[in-house]
């Protein structure tokens, strides 16, 4: 019996264990399912939350990206517009200020115009110079021929004898003939008539001008024809001719000599006078008070000036002229020519 109970118990135990294990299995499976469902739920919830959170972050990110993209687009646009403006401006600036093509063309045209003008002006100038030279040459030639004609004036033809240049076989006389007709004969002494400047003086006054007055040379003789009549003594004549300048008193004085002389006078008076004040006619002359006259010395027509303004009797209607006496007078040349003229007037014989 013990064995059977032991056997039964072991079998039952085993069965029980089996059942127990099965139950545990089922329960654990169920618990597992439960937990898994719970966790699934949790996962679902978490996913939802995370989904929403991620979408929120993504939207933020997206907004940032859009913002930056729009900024960049705007900036590019602005830059492009700015470059457009700058391009225009730079082109304008270079073309107007740094290298102005039209201005350069204008300048070159102006330069070539100036060149042409200068060339013309210089040509004119050269032509003018040539003309002047030619004229001078012609004049010299003329003078030479004239001089020659004057020298050869004796070759002129007379009524009887035809001259060298007036051959009877010619139709017209030679132009030299006409020139000879017009020429005045040359005198042999013409070349000596030039005055020689004197060179033997050593003081500076004579050296200064080439036209120094010859003081000691004898004049050239007058030999064209003998003058008639008795002549004065040559020494007298020379004395008269070469008399040094003796200006008259009036000329020798300065032009303001009256003023100077009066000033001199006044200075002398100042030197002599003890007192510089003017002599007043009476003691209260300098006072400016208006004088109230006595009834006796005033007349119907106002105060009488006699006794207050002047003591002397003055009658202006009797005056010859209205100037006061002069103490200094200009000089007069009554006697400046005394003894200096040819005439014997005034000389003691």
């Amino acid at each position: 019996m013990k064995c059977f109970k032991k056997f039964l118990f072991s079998v039952v135990d085993l069965f029980r264990k089996k059942e127990y294990d099965a139950a545990v299995k089922i329960q654990s499976w169920f618990r597992g399912c439960q937990v898994r469902a719970y966790i699934r739920n949790l996962h679902r919830i978490t996913t939802v939350i995370q989904k929403w959170w991620r979408s929120y972050l993504g939207r933020q990110e997206y907004r940032l990206i859009v913002k930056f993209a729009s900024c960049a687009m705007k900036m590019n646009f602005y830059n492009a517009m700015a470059v457009r403006i700058q391009r225009r401006w730079r082109g304008y600036r270079i073309r107007k200020y740094c290298f102005n093509y039209f201005y350069l063309k204008e300048y070159l045209r102006a330069v070539s115009e100036t060149n042409d003008a200068i060339r013309e002006a210089l040509e004119e100038f050269a032509e003018m110079k040539e003309r002047e030279e030619k004229k001078a040459d012609l004049e010299r030639e003329e003078k030479k021929r004239d001089y020659q004609a004057r020298k050869m004036h004796y070759l002129l033809s007379t009524k009887q004898i035809p001259g060298v240049y007036n051959s009877p076989f010619r139709k017209d006389p030679d132009p030299w003939e006409l020139r000879l007709q017009k020429a005045k004969p040359l005198t042999s002494q013409r070349s000596k008539a030039k005055p020689k400047p004197c060179i033997s003086l050593s003081d500076w006054l004579a050296c200064t001008s080439a036209r120094s007055f010859p003081q000691s040379e004898i004049l050239p003789p007058i030999d064209r024809k003998q003058c008639q009549g008795p002549f004065r003594d040559i020494t007298e004549v020379l004395e008269q001719r070469y008399k040094p300048l003796e200006p008259t008193l009036r000329v020798a004085e300065p032009i303001d000599e009256l003023k100077v002389a009066r000033g001199e006078f006044r200075r002398q008076e100042w030197m002599r006078n003890v007192n510089d004040n003017m002599f007043l006619p009476f003691s209260s002359y300098h006072k400016n008070k208006k004088y109230i006259p006595l009834m006796n010395s005033s007349s119907k027509y106002g105060p009488n000036s006699y006794g207050s303004q002047h003591f002397r009797d003055e009658n202006p209607k009797k005056w010859i002229c209205d100037k006061d006496f002069q103490t200094v007078l200009p000089s007069f040349d009554l006697f400046s020519k005394y003894g200096k003229l040819y005439s014997k007037a005034g000389q003691i014989i």
């Binding site: 350069l104 330069v111 060149n115 060339r119 200064t208």
Partner: protein, 486 residues
């Protein structure tokens, strides 16, 4: 005595022995005419020969002359100043001897004399002394000569004006400080007025003086220009006298070379046209300053170079280049043409159409040209070629240019051909492509690159057609061709 000295004064002696010792006591003679004639004789002897001048110096005659210069009458002063001039003109040492014996002060006193002949002789002597070098000029200026010379210029006698102007020119030519001293004495205004004087020798000296003043610095040149010499100076370029033209063009050159503004001023006054006409009307060394002036003006900027071109300067310069026999004038013309053509392709084209480039090339290649001429023409060619895009002028260069120039020519072709189809066609038909193929160049060199870039402009068949030896290769192909036999 008198006639003896007169005879001596017209000798040209063979032996100088004793002449000085004979003449020296005559200088101290009582009779003034003998003194004067002895001084005149000494002057003529010293004038003839510099040994005689040295003998005058060694014979201790100068102190006696200087001492009596202060006291005697004007004829003696003139003769003594003549002696000093004659001694001083030969060499700087003799002039220094004159300065050492104290002659400068007495000469300056003579400049204040009343007689214009004495002033002239003194100014002449001072001019000859100052001519040699800067120290002697400085000594002359220190003696106070400059203001007195300026006063002498204002005198009415023409000979005195000439000599005074030439003396001022000799003083101011050495250094800027001396020129400034002359300017401070007020010389410029008077010199500028005298440009209008009709006497040509005076004009020579005046223009020379102004150019010596203007050459030293920009300020001095500006002061000369402010004296309103333009456009009056241009009439001097038309003068009959050659040296007046030369000195006038020297003056304008010295002014033009300093700054672009001064050159601009000259161009605006029409100076370039006048100068070109002047160059056309004279020959030889007279032209040289004019040619240099055009070069200086063109060198400053491209606008000025264009102004020179439109004034028809380039044909005139190329005439000078071909006609002139002397090398230095040719070198100057080559330099001037180089300055004109080096700025932009327009300028280079203007130079190239006048057919100047072959002339320059021949001058460069010729063995008879001096080194200076060769260097200048090479530089000119190089500068012009680097800007030249006018292909008809470049083609002759392919044929006879040396390798260093060929490189530039081929380079220019390689720049122009890729862009211009008509030029490409012309290049082929005129045989240029053929010539280019014949050029042997080292692989990897610049020339080879240029040749390659030219070859790239053309289809391969043409390049092969024109490559040397193509006919041989074709014939070889004919030889080796087996016709298809049926």
């Amino acid at each position: 005595m008198h006639s003896f000295t007169k005879d001596q004064s017209s000798w040209i002696p063979n032996g100088q022995a004793g002449v000085m010792s004979l003449l020296r006591p005559l200088l101290l003679d009582v009779v003034p005419t003998i003194q004067q004639t002895a001084a005149l004789a000494l002057g003529r002897l010293a004038n003839y020969n510099d040994d005689l001048a040295e003998a005058v110096v060694k014979g201790d005659i100068l102190p006696q002359l200087v001492y009596s210069l202060a006291e005697q009458n004007r004829f003696y002063k003139k003769a003594a100043a003549f002696v000093l001039r004659a001694v001083g003109k030969h060499s700087p040492q003799l002039a220094q001897a004159i300065v050492d014996c104290g002659a400068l002060d007495t000469l300056v006193i003579c400049l204040e004399d009343f007689d214009p002949g004495v002033k002239e002789a003194a100014a002449w002597a001072l001019g000859y002394i100052a001519r040699h070098n800067a120290e002697l000029s400085q000594a002359v200026v220190d003696a106070g000569a400059a203001p007195l010379l300026v006063l002498c210029i204002q005198e009415p006698e023409i000979a005195l004006k000439r000599i005074a102007a030439s003396a001022l020119s000799d003083i101011s030519k050495h250094s800027p400080e001396l020129a400034q001293t002359v300017v401070d004495a007020g010389a410029i205004a008077h010199l500028a007025q005298m440009i209008l004087n009709p006497d040509s020798k005076l004009k020579r000296q005046v223009l020379s003086a102004l150019s010596q003043i203007a050459k030293h610095s920009v300020d001095l040149a500006e002061m000369v220009v402010e004296a309103e010499i333009f456009p009056v100076v241009l009439t001097c370029l038309k003068d009959k006298d050659e040296y007046v033209k030369k000195n006038a063009s020297t003056l304008i050159r010295e002014i033009a070379k300093h700054t672009p503004e001064l050159s601009q001023l000259i161009v605006n006054a029409g100076g370039v046209a006048a100068m070109i006409d002047c160059i056309g009307s004279c020959k030889g060394n007279i032209r040289l300053p004019g040619i240099m002036m055009l070069g200086y003006v063109a060198a400053h900027s491209e606008n000025l170079a264009m102004a020179v071109i439109i004034s028809k300067g380039v044909p005139q310069l190329s005439i000078c280049l071909s006609e002139e026999p002397e090398d230095h004038i040719k070198a100057a013309a080559a330099w001037a043409i180089g300055q004109i053509g080096r700025h932009t392709p327009e300028h280079a084209r203007a130079v190239a159409v006048t057919n100047t480039l072959p002339v320059l090339l021949s001058l460069y290649m010729s063995t008879e040209s001096s080194e200076d001429l060769q260097v200048k023409s090479k530089k000119a060619i190089k500068n012009i070629l680097q800007k030249c895009t006018y292909l008809p002028a470049l083609e002759p260069f392919l044929y006879d240019a040396p390798p260093n120039i060929l490189k530039h020519v081929v380079g220019q072709f390689s720049k122009v051909l890729p862009h211009d189809s008509k030029a490409r066609r012309l290049f082929v038909t005129s045989g240029g492509l053929k010539k280019v193929q014949e050029i042997k160049a080292e692989p990897g060199s610049l020339l080879q690159e240029y040749i390659n870039s030219i070859n790239n402009c053309y289809p391969e068949e043409i390049v092969r057609y024109y490559s040397p030896g193509y006919s041989d290769t074709l014939l070889q192909r004919v030889d080796s061709y087996q016709p298809l036999t049926k």
